[in-house]
């Protein structure tokens, strides 16, 4: 009897293992997977691509007289029902803007504080007793940081709408703008909408 029970348990285990969904890696270059109600990486790719192309095509980043603009990322507000790190959008935008050769990003200031905290930690060392341990000419002097000329700020927000009895519509709005920090004038602005329609049972947060 005991042997029979073990055999049955073993058989059920084998069957369950066979039914389990296999984990596969996503082909992120040519993903033909179904759309999901929440924002996935394809939505961020799409939004970022549109934003970057619009920025570069507008000529707003071409500095009169030549040279490159110093740009920082200001506040990007996530007003969706999802936990989104807005860097998912901005890392792509920043990377492409720098690759374009038209701008240089600063890590000294930003909407989330300094992009690299070491900038200020090194200065704290300079101004402390520990600074005496370093060769003087390897520590940054005062007034070496370059202030940004342009700031990219924006917002991602979401609207959930009941489409019919069984379906809902979720609209995601990506809004970015570039502001000249000296004059306060806005050089460029764009909104990209990504809309999804699906079952009420799908959750978008």
């Amino acid at each position: 009897m005991k042997t029979r029970t073990i055999e049955i348990i073993a058989l059920i285990s084998i069957l369950l293992t066979g039914c389990a969904q296999k984990t596969v890696n996503i082909d992120v270059v040519n993903d033909e997977g179904k759309a999901v109600m929440a924002l996935d990486y394809r939505d961020f790719d799409q939004a970022a691509s549109g934003m970057i192309q619009s920025m570069l095509g507008s000529g707003a980043l071409k500095k009169p007289g030549g040279g490159r603009y110093v740009v920082t990322t200001g506040r990007i507000v996530n007003d969706t029902m999802q936990r989104i790190d807005t860097d998912q959008l901005m890392a792509k935008v920043e990377e492409e803007l720098m690759n374009s050769g038209q701008v240089v990003m600063t890590s000294a200031v930003g909407g989330k504080g300094a992009g690299d905290k070491m900038i200020y930690e090194v200065r704290d060392i300079r101004d402390s007793a520990v600074g005496d341990e370093f060769k003087k000419d390897t520590i940054p002097a005062k007034r070496q940081l370059i202030a940004p000329e342009l700031s990219i700020s924006g917002k991602i927000f979401q609207r959930n709408i009941r489409y019919d009895k069984n379906r809902q519509q979720v609209e995601y709005y990506f809004q970015l703008k570039i502001t000249d920090l000296t004059t306060g004038l806005r050089f460029w602005q764009k909104e990209t909408i990504i809309g999804k329609r699906g079952s009420n049972k799908s959750v978008s947060w």
Binding site: D45, A48, I52, L56, G57, E95, N99, Q102
Partner: protein, 144 residues
């Protein structure tokens, strides 16, 4: 009898001539928006639509133009026409090539959505991510 036939012919000719005279190629009046014509009416439409599906009409690209913008980036303008009677949704990806024909890696070269309504022209625009792009290649795939 002959007079009635003549009057009918005159009315038809006048109607056809009248329709042609008002047509402005810049304005597209879709089926069931504009007036029916002899070749496009409630009787002929199902036949033409079925024939279109039968021969597999779809999207045609009529023109692909590149120009360099003031900031030095290559811009691609693609014009096309959706020959089918249904809205065609598709995805497209534009990749940029340097002077050696080598691919320029870019976050902008991703599959983007495209859409063209039935029997309508459509346009797409893409901007190269770097000034060194001199050529492009574009791929399309079905909307999943």
């Amino acid at each position: 009898m002959k007079t009635i036939t003549n009057i009918l012919l005159f009315v038809i000719v006048a109607a056809v001539a009248g329709c042609n005279g008002q047509r402005d190629s810049r304005i597209h009046l879709r089926e069931e928006v504009g007036s029916d014509t002899l070749g496009n009416n409630i009787v002929t439409r199902p036949v033409t639509h079925a024939f279109s599906v039968l021969i597999g009409e779809g999207i045609e690209v009529t023109q692909a133009v590149t120009k360099r913008n003031d900031a030095g980036f290559l811009e691609l303008y693609v014009n096309g026409y959706n020959r089918s009677y249904k809205t065609k949704r598709f995805r497209y990806r534009v990749e940029w090539l340097d002077e050696n024909g080598l691919l320029i890696q870019s976050k902008t070269s991703v599959w983007l959505p495209g859409s063209a309504m039935g029997q309508s022209p459509f346009s797409l625009k893409a901007v190269a991510p770097v000034p060194k792009a001199v050529n492009f290649r574009m791929d399309t795939r079905k909307w999943e």
